[in-house]
Each structure stands twice: as structure tokens, then as C-alpha cells.
Symmetry: C2
Subunit: 253 residues, 2 copies
């Protein structure tokens, strides 16, 4: 029996990235697509609890079952499992994201939160991002990487309660050198707000900033990408800072 | 000089919880309040990038500087640091949340994401939640716990790039037994969708479900709370699953 592969993203159902990922996934199994009806970048692990959710059939992908959802990528995963499939798929893939989801961006990324949700459900789950924000980005190299990672993931014993964060470099004149297993780099946004005045002379703000790598390690996702490799960070949802538990116990609050 | 304490929440500026936390914070320092203008529960680490943000002065708290923000709790923290204070505060507190943020709820919780953002900025940051969803909940015991945790946090060397997830049990006829330093329990939502039909006979869905503890450990936040203790989980933003890195390297993708 062909595996059942669930597909979502955060750029919305009409993005080029999800179509490019679907084209790879259908080589490996039967697919179900539920994706946001509008861009949901930066939605992180948000779920929709103060508004009802809508789910509408989509005819975008000929011969494939697809729905749009009014909610977030995590909503898409929950609706897929508990309302549409009434079972767990064999694999969840999310992406291709238009733009990198390296390092601490895993926290802001809807693409990655969808697969972190998959890990919570103990479903093998992989988020794919191409380091190119262009709406017309060329995903052919990314597809090659995805093909390898999906094949190996289906053939192997996928680690329980873990998901993969796969980032693929944007390379022009050279080939991707390979795939490195990495840790999340210690890197941060130095935020800025672009303050503008509206037609009533009242201020509004656009979030912007620079992403800065504070990590000299050669085992990070950012190092791999800078050196022409795709990166995989195995990612977990246990956020306990085990290293400081004993220290805080000594505080005797 | 009195410390500068930044206060936010995810239930919105008019919630009883944030007022109860402000009343504790002013005992320890000067405060700046920026809170969402509407409930933002379940927003996780979402940031607002597809809409502009608004920031409006609030007169809700006499003698204190407060703003409402149209965005998420993480937006509030970013606006506070980079647009309003133009410096890092000495402490960030978020809450009191109306309802628990134990275990994997740390991922969904706007209350906790605000302080995870604080940890990324390397600011001592503490999220406080009372295990009582009632809008009129009694926060007096929670205030006692917050007082102890804030005092100790300001007097101690707060661990770098870590935040605290503090949950306080709802107890009626007994006192809280103390405060336990814990790990995040391995517990999950078994989701359900409440499917209803609108006035045009089209379906819509409300997310609901049951939270189930799959963790028999006695060192978890859920165990502490069930046994009458408040829990503190030191929480980090590095989500790398270090334990499986070598295993995946052996896959030779």
C-alpha cells in the first residue's frame, strides 16, 4: 500500500513552493493537501480558537484531494488528522517555504510549526525551506534534496516525536555539495520598526530587521548553508532547559 | 536605581490577570505595560508581518505607562524593546494567564512565547499562569508565588537565554505546598472539531479536545501541580533534538 502523505505550507495554497513539493510527494505516495487560503508566514505555532475555521475544497491540483483552510498551518494539520483523514498519515511534509527557516526562525515559522505539530502526534514530519524569498524561485534543486530526504525517511525508522527542519541553499553557478545534519544556530533578529504615518497622521509600524549569526560553530545549519550544503536540524518540542534545572533548584525559592 | 520591568500578556490588556501581575511588579520596579488590545490566546510565537501594527496609549492603569498593541504578545515585546524603550528592560513578566500553560502548551501559548522572545533577547523573562480559566479568577495565591519568584529572579544571576514557565495550581481549601523546579511533561491534546452549520448550511469548525498526560514522571510540571505545588520549568528556545543527531548522521542521506 502506498504511504499517505499530508502536505501543507505557510505561504498559502497558491504559492509555487507547495506545488513544487506536491510534485515530489506524489512520486512516493497518495497525498492529501490542506493549506492556508492566504499567506500565514510568521504565524509560528498559532492555533485558531477565537474564530471558527472554514475548510473548502480546492481544484488547484488536478486529480488530487486538496482543501484550503482559513486558519494557520497548525490548524491545517489538526483539521487534516482529526476531521478529514480521521487517521494519522504516514508522513507530513510542509513547504517548500519561500525563504529560509534556519536557526531560531523555527519558532516564528508556520512551515516548521506544522511539522512540530506532526512530531507531537508522533508522525514523521519534515519542513522544507528554500533560501530564496522570490515568489518565482527555482525549486528544482530543492526538489532533488526533498526527494532524497523523503525517500530515506520513508525507508528508515524515523525518530519518535522528532521532526526535521530542512533548509536548501540558493546556489546559482554550482551544485549543492550534499546534506549536513546540524544543530540550530544561535542567531537572532535585530528588530527594527519602520514607523510610517497614515492618512490621519497617526503612526503605524512594519516589523523589519537584520538576522545576525552569533554562533561560530561549524556544526550549525547556518554554517552548512553558507558552505553550499543543505541542512537538516532534527527538531523537538521539549523546550525544557535541562542544563539549568539543578542551578535553579539551588535557588530555594 | 529601580529595575525596569516590562509587562505583557495574551488575554489582552483588560484581563484581570495582567492587572493582578502589575500590582505585584510595581513593588519591585518601574513598569512599562504593552499588551494586546484583544485576546491573543493560542497565538504561540506568531509575529505580525503581513499587516502594520498599531500602538495606542492606554489610561487603564493610573500613574503607569501603558500601551495597547494590535498584534501578538511577541509583537508587544519587540515593540517594547525596539520602539518604545529603545533599551532592554531588566525583567519581562507575562501573565497572569487565565488558564494553565503546562507541558507542550508552551508552544501554543502567547503568554509563554512573549517570554521565550525575552530569552532570545537574553532578558530575564518569566511567564505566569494560574490553572483557572475563569475571567474572575482569584489571583491572590498566584500573586504570592509571583512575588517570591520575581524577588529571587532579580536578586540572583538569571540563567542566560532561558525563561521561566511558572504555573500556579487552583486550590480551594488548602495552601500551595511550595514551588517545584520541573521539566515539561510529555502530554498532548487529543483534538476534536465541533462541526456546526451556518445560516447558509455551510460547515464551520471550532477546535476543542482533551489534554492527556502521557508522562508518568514525578519531575514534571503536571505532577507538581496535581500534588499542590506551583511549577517552574526553565525553558529554552534551542529546539535541536541533540539525542538523535548521530542516528540521523548514520542514515547517510
Amino acid at each position: 500500500m502506498r504511504p499517505l502523505i499530508f502536505i501543507t505550507n505557510d505561504d498559502g495554497i497558491s504559492a509555487k513552493g507547495i506545488k513544487s513539493l506536491i510534485d515530489v510527494a506524489v512520486e512516493f505516495g497518495d497525498v492529501l493537501i490542506i493549506a492556508p487560503d492566504k499567506p500565514q508566514s510568521g504565524m509560528g505555532h498559532a492555533i485558531t480558537i477565537n474564530h471558527p475555521l472554514r475548510l473548502d475544497s480546492s481544484r488547484l491540483f488536478e486529480g488530487l484531494t486538496a482543501f484550503t483552510c482559513t486558519g494557520t498551518p497548525v490548524d491545517c494539520v489538526k483539521l487534516g488528522i482529526y476531521e478529514v483523514m480521521h487517521r494519522k498519515p504516514d508522513l507530513i511534509v510542509s513547504g517548500f517555504n519561500h525563504g529560509e527557516n534556519t536557526s531560531t526562525n523555527v519558532l516564528y515559522s508556520g512551515t516548521m510549526s506544522a511539522v512540530v505539530e506532526g512530531a507531537m502526534e508522533n508522525i514523521p514530519s519534515i519542513g522544507f525551506s528554500l533560501c530564496d524569498f522570490d515568489a518565482d524561485a527555482d525549486f528544482s534543486e530543492a526538489q532533488e534534496i526533498a526527494r532524497k530526504v523523503i525517500r530515506k525517511s520513508l525507508d528508515s525508522s524515523f525518530p519518535s516525536h522528532v521532526c526535521f527542519n530542512v533548509n536548501i541553499p540558493k546556489l546559482k553557478n554550482e551544485k549543492i555539495k550534499g546534506i549536513k545534519i546540524c544543530r540550530q544556530a544561535h542567531a537572532f533578529w535585530e528588530d527594527r520598526f519602520d514607523k510610517r504615518m497614515d492618512q490621519f497622521n497617526k503612526p503605524y509600524y512594519w516589523l523589519t530587521g537584520d538576522f545576525t549569526n552569533a554562533d561560530a560553530g561549524e556544526d550549525t545549519d547556518l554554517f552548512a548553508l553558507e558552505n553550499g550544503y543543505a541542512s537538516i536540524v532534527p527538531t523537538q518540542f521539549d523546550m525544557t532547559a535541562y542544563k539549568v534545572i539543578d542551578e535553579i533548584k539551588n535557588w530555594e525559592i
